[in-house]
């Protein structure tokens, strides 16, 4: 997408009067200005490819349903009210897990980032949790938390906590020590230091963590909704696969894809607004 203009256009001139602008315009090395809506170009290309492969019969509908069948099935599910129910339940679980996970992850990252004692206590267990897949942890969580809603929300929260912690901690430790020295020079208290230096400095890391976290919350849904769920997108997919209803599974996957794109878009939007002060390749 790089603009390699070597001639600046002269606005409002007829071809007859056209004069060459003599000002030198250098080639830009960055990706150039933002084009709105670029997030959707890749997925739409994929969709076109899928439709093409289905229409020409290259893609067996038994392995992946055709896009129009998926749309029909989705309409059917919406008419029955099943899709909305599933979405509402899943959204509630995911948001609750997200809020708890983000809160706990942030607090842990601050404690471990700002104190060596905290790091000694917190960092190890978080790395251990990172190495254990949620799916493998499920039996244990069921043993500890039973099969009700607390187990589901906490499983999601655990999946969310990790990226928030890692990226915030990393962002915090990456803050230039000159800022800390400056804060010490002007005798900021610890509270003010956290407010004015640490939090803004760790925000880029935190927001990157949030991008991972939002998707982790969605991914965890599939795992937690296999156990004692009566609705939710994950439950809908599991149930459909036990009856061999491929088209409903694909509807579920498409819903996940859309949720993922939208959620990621929202976080990136927040990122742009919150980090407007940064002069980086992204904003340039």
């Amino acid at each position: 997408m790089a603009t390699t203009a070597v001639e600046a256009p002269v606005v409002g001139a007829t071809p007859a009067q056209k004069k060459t602008d003599k000002r030198v315009v250098r080639r830009r090395l960055g990706p150039g200005p933002r084009i709105p809506g670029t997030l959707w170009i890749g997925p739409l290309l994929l969709l076109g490819l899928w439709a093409l492969a289905s229409a020409t019969g290259v893609l067996d509908p038994r392995t992946l349903s055709e896009p129009w069948v998926v749309v029909e099935t989705a309409q059917q599910l919406i008419a029955d009210g099943r899709l909305q129910d599933a979405l509402a339940t899943s959204a509630y679980r995911a948001s609750l897990g997200l809020v708890i996970g983000v809160g706990v992850g942030l607090v842990l990252a601050l404690l471990s980032g700002l104190s060596r004692v905290g790091e000694a206590v917190i960092d190890g267990p978080v790395q251990v949790k990172r190495a254990i897949p949620s799916l493998a942890l499920m039996p244990l969580l069921i043993l500890w938390l039973g099969i009700g809603e607390p187990m589901k929300v906490i499983t999601i929260a655990l999946g969310v906590l990790i990226p928030i912690y890692i990226h915030t901690h990393n962002g915090l430790r990456g803050i230039d020590s000159r800022y800390a020295e400056l804060a010490e020079t002007v005798s900021l208290g610890r509270g003010a230091f956290v407010r004015h230096v640490v939090l803004p400095g760790a925000t880029p890391g935190f927001l990157l963590g949030l991008r991972f976290a939002v998707l982790n919350a969605l991914l965890s849904l599939v795992v937690v909704e296999q156990v004692n769920a009566t609705s939710g997108i994950g439950h809908m997919i599991t149930l459909a696969s036990s009856y061999g209803q491929t088209e409903i599974i694909v509807v579920g996957l498409v819903v996940y894809a859309l949720l993922g794109l939208v959620a990621d878009g929202i976080v990136r939007f927040i990122e742009r607004k919150a980090l407007a002060w940064r002069r980086t390749l992204e904003s340039h």
């Binding site: 706990v104 004692v117 938390l145 800390a180 809908m236 149930l239 009856y243």
Partner: protein, 354 residues
């Protein structure tokens, strides 16, 4: 210059947070209110003290009771329904003390016993015509030529040791006069549509498929040459079981006695209102179309509750013996797994409505 170490206050906050997390964790699965202990040979009490709760993973009974309105007859105790069925999930929930009873086939109670989760079986159901309406048939992959049990020799067969499907494979081999050495058993857990997918991709030649899995597999792949054959073996054993603690708790035992009466009524209601049942369970709860739901119900959804458990237990012992022999499991006397105090309760309820 570095940032000064955190004050003790922050460390205390961290400790409090950690404790909170653990605290939430600890109280999640706790079950309040244990009743007095009931000996295994004591008569079942009738009195249900206030506040008794049964946590049941019997989704079909839940739907039947709620649809028929029989749920209003639950008296003196509360039911917390869990949408859990099948061996692995129910055993997991029993261990977590999160469930009092669940409905499964005849293999899970054996595996629960072998994995040190003592359970008791308190109700059994069969199919009115088990050989005509088997739960499972052997699906045959599009590329394999298997038309009779004799053709299984040398074939790849999907095999899940801890599930009813696994036991069925072993029984089928025995009936065909083959041993495990004559075939290639491929260990796959049957979760949702794994077996159907393995067949469709020609990864295995033969796999047991039940109910909708079979119909959807044939509907999709028959044109490529997929078929199925019957095993000729009874596979209709279904039972309600729970961890021993449930039935050692006098309050829960009394409540369960009452519930079993209701359960029999619910099964009768299903027999008398097949269309309402198909709509409530297969359409609304399971998301099938009415036509598909009716097909499943008519082939493998019919239940018959036997007044005497003798025949059922005898067949269960045969199943256990095959697993002992073929999988080197410890000897087991299945009679020990049954709590026969509930047998007359069910028989009485069966008489009650006739």
């Amino acid at each position: 210059m570095t940032i000064r170490p955190t004050s003790a206050r922050l460390t205390v906050v961290a400790a409090v947070l950690a404790t909170l997390l653990l605290g939430v964790t600890a109280c999640g699965g706790a079950d309040a209110g244990k009743g007095p202990k009931l000996a295994a040979n004591a008569a079942l009490p009738d009195k249900i003290p206030d506040g008794t709760v049964l946590r049941l993973g019997i989704p079909n009974a839940e739907v039947a009771l709620k649809t028929s309105g029989l749920i209003d007859e639950v008296e003196g105790y509360d039911i917390e329904w869990a949408n859990i069925s099948g061996g692995p999930q129910s055993i997991e929930a029993f261990r977590a003390d999160a469930l009092d009873a669940s409905i499964v086939a005849d293999i899970p109670p054996l595996f629960a016993t072998w994995t040190d989760t003592p359970v008791k079986i308190v109700a059994v159901t069969e199919n009115p015509d088990p050989l005509e309406n088997p739960i499972y048939e052997l699906g045959v992959s599009p590329k394999s030529k298997v038309t009779s049990l004799k053709d299984l020799k040398g074939k790849k067969i999907a095999y899940s040791p801890g599930q009813a499907q696994g036991a069925l494979v072993l029984k089928t081999l025995e009936a065909a006069g083959l041993t495990q050495k004559d075939v290639e058993l491929v260990e796959i857990q049957s979760v949702d549509d794994t077996f159907a997918n393995a067949l469709a991709a020609n990864q295995v030649d033969v796999a047991p498929l039940g109910g909708t899995q079979l119909t959807s597999y044939l509907a999709k792949y028959e044109r490529d040459g997929a078929t199925s054959i019957r095993t000729g073996i009874r596979d209709d054993a279904t039972l309600i079981y729970g961890p021993e603690e449930t039935f050692e708790d006098a309050n829960k035992a009394a409540a369960f006695k009452h519930f079993l009466g209701l359960w029999v009524k619910a099964e009768k209601w299903i027999d008398e209102h097949p269309d309402e049942w198909v709509k409530a369970y297969y359409v609304d709860h399971e998301g099938l179309s009415f036509k598909d739901g009716k097909k499943v119900f008519e082939s493998s959804g019919q239940t018959l509750i036997p007044p005497s458990w003798d025949g059922f237990i005898k067949r269960h012992q045969e199943t256990a013996d095959i697993l002992v022999k073929e999988q080197d499991q410890p000897q087991i006397d299945v009679e020990d797994l049954y709590d026969r105090r509930y047998e007359p309760v069910v028989a009485e309820a069966l008489k009650g409505g006739q």
